[in-house]
């Protein structure tokens, strides 16, 4: 499934994407204060039509900023974002609007991302209005009702307001809105992390069903590794703004080549006491360093159990292809590099 899809032109090509924020806001801040938050540093990846690309990492690793920069909700500091053959970073306002017909967003918080003063019918039909699709009102209402039905909401509720719905139902409204224009790519930023497990499973199944039906590609951003594994064809791991590893999901979970990926996988508790008690965990010491003053060399070297002297010097190790289609940014990239413990599946 994974291998066969990656042929032809990528739908989205991200190359050396970098995003920095000034530490202080204001007109003169950038001149007065040279400090920068290095949110995204030199990130490159491709998404092919119809595939799900999972982006995981801990909070503050830049995964959400990557998603927002791709859609140009913030402007990139450097780098290229080629969507459907055009560079998003160079688009003017009109081209951007046109591009966003094909690239939509699903937000994390179903409570904050729906306007409380609009009915769910208005919310779902807003993208149609903005892009001038389906000018006939009757036709549009019919279409919105069918969309609500597809995402598992009662079409009769078209005139209700968001507060009348539960969290999971609101997320369904957000999904209907994102699918209204039948986009080619949807950026899902933590779409299920605010939901309870039983509801989370409903939404994940809905996303996979819609993908099968419409062939939409997803950039799926989440911190929950099991959720990402479940939904993704390809998974990339970020740490402190850098891409650490990028591979198809099977290899990444079975044979992580980066010590950070291995540690991250081993930290996820498995809901099976036999398995959980039998495996040896890698407990990383310390916290993620500050992105304002990132360490020299590999950003992970301070917490890495296998770091050697060269890791703390010079540049970040290059993201190199360790196996066909498997990229890893570590000097000592090897299958399960931290020895004496293995990530049990």
């Amino acid at each position: 499934m994974t291998e066969t899809k990656r042929t032809g032109e990528p739908l989205l090509h991200v190359e050396h994407l970098t995003k920095e924020f000034p530490v202080e806001a204001g007109v003169f801040a950038s001149r007065m204060n040279k400090k920068r938050v290095h949110a995204v540093e030199d990130v490159s990846f491709d998404i092919y039509p119809g595939e799900t690309f999972g982006l995981v990492g801990e909070s503050g690793c830049g995964k959400s900023t990557t998603g927002r920069t791709i859609m140009r909700l913030t402007n990139p500091t450097a780098g290229k974002v080629i969507f459907d053959g055009k560079d998003v970073a160079k688009m003017n306002k009109r081209e951007l609007k046109e591009m966003r017909r094909n690239m939509q967003f699903i937000f994390q918080d179903p409570y904050a991302s729906l306007n409380p003063r609009m009915t769910i019918g208005e919310i779902v039909s807003e993208p149609l209005q903005i892009h001038g699709v389906m000018k006939d009102q009757k036709e549009r209402i019919e279409y919105v009702r069918s969309l609500l039905d597809i995402v598992g909401l009662n079409p009769e509720h078209i005139n209700r307001y968001p507060h009348e719905f539960s969290g999971g139902q609101r997320q369904r409204v957000g999904i209907a809105r994102a699918f209204a224009l039948k986009p080619k790519l949807i950026i899902c930023d933590e779409p299920v992390s605010a939901l309870d497990v039983s509801i989370q499973a409903q939404v994940l199944n809905l996303l996979s069903d819609l993908q099968k039906e419409y062939g939409t590609a997803y950039l799926f951003i989440a911190h929950d590794l099991s959720v990402v594994q479940h939904i993704s064809d390809r998974v990339a791991v970020m740490y402190l703004g850098h891409m650490m590893e990028d591979s198809d999901w099977k290899t990444l979970y079975a044979e992580p080549h980066h010590p950070y990926t291995q540690a991250l996988l081993s930290a996820v508790p498995i809901p099976d006491p036999d398995v959980q008690h039998a495996r040896k965990r890698i407990i990383l010491s310390g916290d993620v360093p500050s992105p304002i003053d990132p360490p020299a060399g590999c950003p992970f070297h301070e917490r890495c159990p296998i770091a050697k002297e060269q890791c703390s010097k010079g540049e970040m190790p290059e993201l190199r292809e360790v196996k066909p289609g498997h990229f890893c940014a570590c000097h000592f990239a090897a299958p399960n590099p931290i020895k004496g413990s293995s990530v049990e599946l």
Binding site: E58, D196, V197, A201, V268, P269
Partner: protein, 363 residues
């Protein structure tokens, strides 16, 4: 500010657990909230027992009453709107619900301590870490400022905060989320409590930090022998730490048993639903998830029969009519389902576990 320790107070912690009872006994506890919309039955008949050195995992979705149960035990629910409609909580044989506020002040922090979910808001931003850590010691133990400071430094070292002598003077905003949660644990353990209630202690934290905090709680328990009540929605966390598990739904437990029983011989359709809902780590092929249909019921107009019946794929007429009573399917393992004793019901419908799979593979 807090009063000094009352000298006439007999330390509950030093008293033996009465013959035939447990360290903590929660007996058919009911906590209802009287609101404008009606009576919210937040906790509706919760019972369990806990002994020293044990960890009880309380699992459930949001609104299932898992937090309110522990807040009621701690006497932290405002009454009104809350009202205890029945049941009892006994700690070392003494009823906590019958205690005066003055008496509860001795229990809180000293005998039973609590860690909250959000480390960002549960520390006071205008006091130093040292002062907040020492507050319980000065109150319960009558420590001087100097003694409290020294003990605070020890506690910070114990929970693995580097450079504790300096950090004790810092304010909460100077700590990261994981470090604040360590401070919360240090604070909870300051007076060496019998019972530590941890309400979603790692939900706001990243997985690598979560692993650190869980290891810390385990090693502290090994050292101090305290009991832990771990409230969480994450089945992975309970699989890691819990000896016993209570699965809650709509204000009451639907299944209770040892960790083994809940994970390998679960007998309630809701527990099955939870287990099926979580994405499994698989090696080769992905199976689609089996979610639980629908949404949790409102606690104001709770269903007449079994609270899970509207979402249960196996529900029959009786489920909508009559509330199920606890049925024992093993010693200490009960389930609130009408069909638990029906032959073949569990065998036919329970999800496959790693144990059943390996047993099948061996055949």
């Amino acid at each position: 500010m807090a009063r000094k320790k009352n000298d006439n107070w007999v330390e509950l912690k030093d008293q033996p657990v009465p013959e035939g009872s447990h360290l903590l006994e929660v007996d058919d506890l009911k906590m209802y909230f009287h609101t404008q919309d009606g009576v919210v039955k937040a906790v509706d008949g919760v019972s369990y027992t806990l002994d020293r050195g044990e960890t009880l995992g309380v699992v459930g979705e949001s609104g299932s009453g898992k937090s309110v149960t522990s807040l009621t035990i701690m006497g932290l629910i405002d009454m009104p709107p809350g009202k205890i409609e029945g049941g009892d909580v006994r700690y070392r044989g003494k009823s906590l619900l019958a205690m005066s506020e003055r008496e509860m002040e001795h229990v809180r922090g000293n005998d039973i301590a609590m860690i909250f979910q959000d480390p960002m808001t549960s520390l006071n931003p205008v006091y130093t870490i040292g002062r907040q850590l020492g507050e319980g010691l000065r109150l319960h133990r009558g420590y001087s400022k100097e003694q409290a400071r020294e003990r605070s430094i020890e506690l910070l070292k114990m929970v693995g905060i580097p450079n504790a002598e300096q950090r004790v003077k810092d304010y909460p905003h100077e700590f990261s989320g994981g470090m604040r949660q360590r401070v919360m644990i240090a604070m909870a353990l300051a007076c060496d409590p019998d019972i530590l209630i941890a309400d979603e202690p790692t939900t706001a934290l990243d997985v690598t930090i979560q692993a650190q905090i869980i290891e810390l709680m385990k090693s502290m328990q090994e050292k101090n022998g305290n009991a832990i009540i771990m409230i969480t929605h994450d089945l992975g966390v309970v699989a890691d730490v819990a000896d016993k598990i209570m699965v809650m739904y709509a204000g009451s437990p639907v299944e209770f048993g040892t960790a083994e029983e809940i994970f390998y011989s679960a007998s309630h359709p809701y527990t099955w639903g939870l287990i099926r809902s979580i994405p499994k780590q698989v090696e080769d092929k992905k199976e689609s998830l089996t979610p639980i249909k629908g949404n949790p019921p409102s606690l104001v107009n709770a269903p007449k029969g079994c609270s899970f019946a509207p979402r249960c794929p196996y529900a029959k007429d009786i489920c909508h009519q009559k509330k199920p009573e606890p049925t024992y399917v093993g010693e200490g393992h009960y389930t609130k389902c009408h069909f638990a004793t029906e032959p073949g019901f569990i065998e036919k419908n329970a999800p496959a576990t790693s144990r059943t799979k390996s047993a099948k593979g061996g055949e």
